[in-house]
């Protein structure tokens, strides 16, 4: 598998603004911006022309309480414009709120607690039961400063590192692609947090079957 980001998507824009729908497909995939590269790659690889991708700002990851309201607003805005909508989020820290929104709107969503779990595979992730692992994906490795360093104030106050990460042991990089430069970036992130580093290649995990199940 090669680098997923062989597209013209801008990571900073995906983080802060998301991605507007292209308007071509009859089924809307309403996704987290952190999944835009992977979903785009899967759409291209499989010729899923029935799918239209829209992304909400990936930075919602840092504010899970805002995810369900944001998805609900987007679902309301998309009403009547598509045959169906699939929400490419897992629970993502919403405590079931997102599942309730999806059920109310008749939209499907990805099973599992978060993208780390569905990239790794739900059963395998649950069996690991790792409570001292701090996970990053390809997207989060690329946007590490936007998601971790700056929001936590570590650029201004590195002395806070222990308060945030003192109980973590390992930064686990769940790699969707083979990318040596990105692996180095993830390794540097582990160093910055004072954690051991582990890389696990996951590919797209359960994301591909979840999208495969969407029918026009």
């Amino acid at each position: 598998m090669t680098r997923a980001a062989e597209d013209d998507l801008d990571d900073a824009a995906l983080t802060a603004e998301g991605l507007s729908p292209g308007g071509a497909g009859r089924v809307l995939v309403l996704a987290c911006g952190a999944l835009a590269h992977e979903i785009t790659a899967l759409i291209r690889a499989n010729g899923w022309s029935h799918l239209d991708l829209q992304c909400l700002p990936a930075i919602l990851h840092n504010h899970p309480e805002r995810i369900a309201p944001a998805v609900e607003a987007a679902l309301a805005a998309a009403r009547g414009r598509y045959w169906s909508v699939f929400v490419a989020y897992a629970d993502c820290g919403t405590g079931g709120a997102l599942a309730r929104v999806c059920a109310e709107h008749g939209a499907g969503m990805i099973a599992g607690p978060h993208c780390y779990a569905f990239f790794d595979g739900l059963d395998r992730f649950a069996a690991r039961d790792e409570i001292t692992a701090f996970y990053v994906t390809d997207f989060l490795a690329r946007q590490f400063d936007a998601f971790v360093t700056r929001p936590l104030g570590l650029d201004r106050h590195p002395e806070l590192r222990e308060m945030y990460f003192g109980h973590y042991e390992t930064l686990v990089y769940l790699a969707q692609t083979e990318d040596a430069a990105l692996t180095e970036k993830a390794r540097a992130a582990a160093r910055a947090l004072g954690l051991a580093f582990e890389r696990r290649f996951t590919g797209y995990g359960d994301l591909a079957p979840a999208l495969t199940r969407i029918t026009p």
Binding site: G95, D129, G153, R156, H157, H167, Y168
Partner: protein, 235 residues
């Protein structure tokens, strides 16, 4: 808060101005300045309990309110807490010596599977600041650890914290086990953590959900007062 902090000599300020300056220094997370302010007030004959409540807790309450209102963010709150910790480290042994009032006792810990303790630590600190004795069980606590601590410490309050939606249901395991053992009503159970809300607190059978550290202190005080009133009425 102020651009002129470098020009201020703390020891030259009046008591009122010094306390106001300590509010500013707490807000700005200046630990050394807070430690200096505490020592100056002690030299001036202030009671440790008064320094704690009027200068430190008072300043930290402003920080907490601005965090709640979205003016301050987590890094600033942590820096302020770190500054307060510096002041409390000086005051803690003196509080014991001077017989400061005790509000009650709390056992607190983050639940099993969860290693996040920033919120719990803030609550512990503010509860201590409010005069509670706090027994901190740390992170990743299984039900037996909570129950053992309840038996050994006989606190008024059990506090449980979780940051993850995947770990917060464990609070119900602890409360249900307390019910099974017939000890649930012996304790005030307070819960907190970013993904929780009042509805969740009610659903799992806690006495209250506490949105932040300041709310935890006020809730604890109210419940302990009610408990004491009940005991007094029975006597």
């Amino acid at each position: 808060m102020s651009d002129q902090d470098d020009d201020i000599i703390l020891s030259e300020l009046s008591d009122d101005d010094l306390v106001a300056q300590m509010f500013d220094d707490l807000y700005d997370g200046l630990r050394e300045e807070i430690e200096e302010g505490v020592n100056i007030l002690l030299e001036r004959g202030w009671q440790p309990y008064d320094i704690l409540t009027k200068a430190l807790v008072g300043g930290m309450t402003i920080v907490g309110n601005d965090f709640r209102d979205g003016i301050l963010f987590v890094p600033e709150v942590l820096l302020a807490a770190n500054a307060m910790k510096g002041g409390m480290a000086i005051l803690k042994p003196l509080l014991v010596e001077t017989g400061a009032p005790r509000m009650g006792k709390m056992v607190i810990g983050t639940v099993k599977g969860d290693i996040h303790d920033i919120g719990k630590n803030l609550v512990s600190m503010m509860m201590e600041g409010a005069g509670f004795e706090v027994v901190d069980l740390g992170i990743n606590n299984a039900v037996d650890k909570y129950l053992d601590a309840l038996e050994a410490e006989q606190p008024d309050i059990l506090g449980m914290s979780a940051l993850l939606t995947t770990t917060m249901p464990y609070m119900k395991v602890v409360i249900d086990t307390m019910k099974e053992k017939g000890i649930r009503e012996d304790y005030i159970v307070l819960v907190g953590g970013a993904p929780l809300n009042e509805e969740f607190g009610r659903a799992i059978g806690a006495d209250a959900y506490c949105r932040d550290a300041a709310v935890a202190v006020e809730t604890a005080k109210a419940f302990v007062a009610r408990k004491h009133n009940r005991i007094a009425a029975r006597a």
